[in-house]
Amino acid sequence: MTPSSPTPETARPTARPAGRTTADSCAAEVGEIFARVFSTLDDWRDGIAAAVPDRADLDVLVESLVVPALLASADSPVADAPPATESLLIGAGFIAAPQYVNGRDAHFAWWLGPLASNPLLGNTSGASRLDLATRVHTEYLRDFRELEWYAVPEATNQTHVTGPYVDQLCTCDYIITLTMPVRLGERMIGVVGADVYVKRLEQVLLPHFLALPGPVVLVNQAGRVVISTEPTLPAGDILPNRRHPADDYDLLPCPGTPFLIATRIGSAAI
């Protein structure tokens, strides 16, 4: 780690949430955070869709759209200010459908934000472009179009949230991937996407969760834990499990997202 590393490993102090914190307010906060990322994706999608005729400049265009957001994420937010949406992002870009750019393979116009001690890239201070051709450990993945973050938006024409999961392509870290189809008429020409760094999402949400009296757990629809104030139910585990039966928890959907706030029954009241 270089001393000038832009992403400090220690958790930053984050403001205590204002007002009374409830499971509902936590769910609303999660909804708002993701709504802001979706709105950023909307802008990128529109920017790419509008420029479509000029395919040669696709990479330049995508870079100009996503890199500022990734670099903004490197700035340490002021302790008392809520972190900007961009500060959650560790990677972003556009993955073009095979026929659109290359003819055969999916084309990645994807950038990573500044990284600290990344096993593949080391420490980087600027944005770096993903070069999949050099990642031989991904060769076993026959077709990237089979992966959830591409296949689902292609099949449903809807924005999709993948994860949390360990991303072995880019960051080798725990992330949530948001992807949105970009269409030209009937045809999907690719997906715009953003990777939310779970570590940074935790920094934003944990103060809210800790303000609740009982254990509170953010899970996805498969029950995968993203953030938790219950030590026996850490990130990566699935709720329910043997130790934590489904009956012990109330589930509250986070609006506009596939995530749920799980609170333990009987410990919610103050």
């Binding site: 096993p119 980087t124 600027g126 770096s128 999961y165 360990v166 725990y174």
Partner: protein, 258 residues
């Protein structure tokens, strides 16, 4: 930043070295990469200065390492503009190199490598069984169903892929990183046994049973099966090393169809 010009798993090849015998280590790292095909025939290696910086060694050490590679007939050095060290286009598979690599490692080192890799793989498999959702287990099955293990080269790629998928399913970023690092450093060696059709068939069969254990959420079974799998690979290496040391090595045993 220069490092950004060549990102990738191949970065692991150039990660810093720490111990003595550094010129030999430089040569070994690059040799493995050439055997595996991470560095491809005709490709130009990074400059000597760049290699020195990446490995964290002196320029003279890199030069000594490159001399070893030149003597082994792996790279050639061209002078002038557009010059540098290039990976030599080999007509035959580098099987003599594999022999040399097996000779260069003591039995105790080989068996220790197998113990370490097994420990990582067992942990990944057990955690994957405890943590994979039903949809993820199905995806692993679907991938495995279509994964090609019929040739040595395909089996090596997909065996590495399978272990990496187990790490991904464990939900541990550290295990994923360690799996990538181990495969970059020792993959060509570890998966040598896949050149043997019988070993390959056994490994492939165990893949299916590990996937089944993951579907059932049976962590202990997944762990035991992963250990069995790595033990096969390790025992094959030790058997082959003994054969090479006795002088009874057959060329086609290691690189059947690579």
């Amino acid at each position: 930043m220069k490092a950004q010009l060549r990102p990738g798993a191949r970065e692991a090849i150039f990660a810093q070295l720490i111990e003595a015998g550094r010129a030999e280590q430089v040569a070994r790292r690059l040799t493995d990469a050439i055997i595996l095909g991470v560095l491809t025939p005709g490709e130009r290696l990074p400059s000597e200065q760049e290699l020195a910086r990446r490995f964290g060694v002196a320029l003279i050490t890199v030069r000594e390492g490159l001399v070893i590679l030149r003597d082994a007939g792996l790279v050639e050095t061209r002078r002038g503009r557009g010059g540098g060290s290039f990976v030599i286009k080999a007509d035959a598979p580098h099987d003599t190199l594999l022999q040399a690599r097996l000779r260069g490692l003591a039995q105790v080192e080989l068996s220790d490598l197998a113990v370490y890799f097994s420990t990582i793989a067992e942990g990944c498999a057990e955690r994957a069984a405890l943590r994979a959702s039903a949809a993820e287990a199905e995806r692993l099955d679907a991938w495995l169903l279509h994964a090609d293990f019929s040739t040595t080269a395909a089996a090596r790629t997909n065996a590495g892929g399978f272990y990496l998928e187990l790490a991904v399913l464990s939900q541990s970023a550290r295990l994923v990183r360690e799996q990538i690092r181990l495969q970059a450093e020792f993959g060509p060696l570890l998966f040598l046994g896949l050149g043997d059709p019988d070993t390959r068939a056994l490994i492939t069969g165990l893949n299916g049973r590990i996937a089944l254990a993951i579907t059932r959420g049976d962590g202990q079974a997944a762990r035991t099966l992963a250990a069995d799998q790595v033990r096969l690979l390790g025992e094959w290496l030790l058997t082959m090393k003994a054969r090479i040391e006795r002088g009874g090595y057959r060329d086609d045993a290691i690189v059947a169809d690579a």
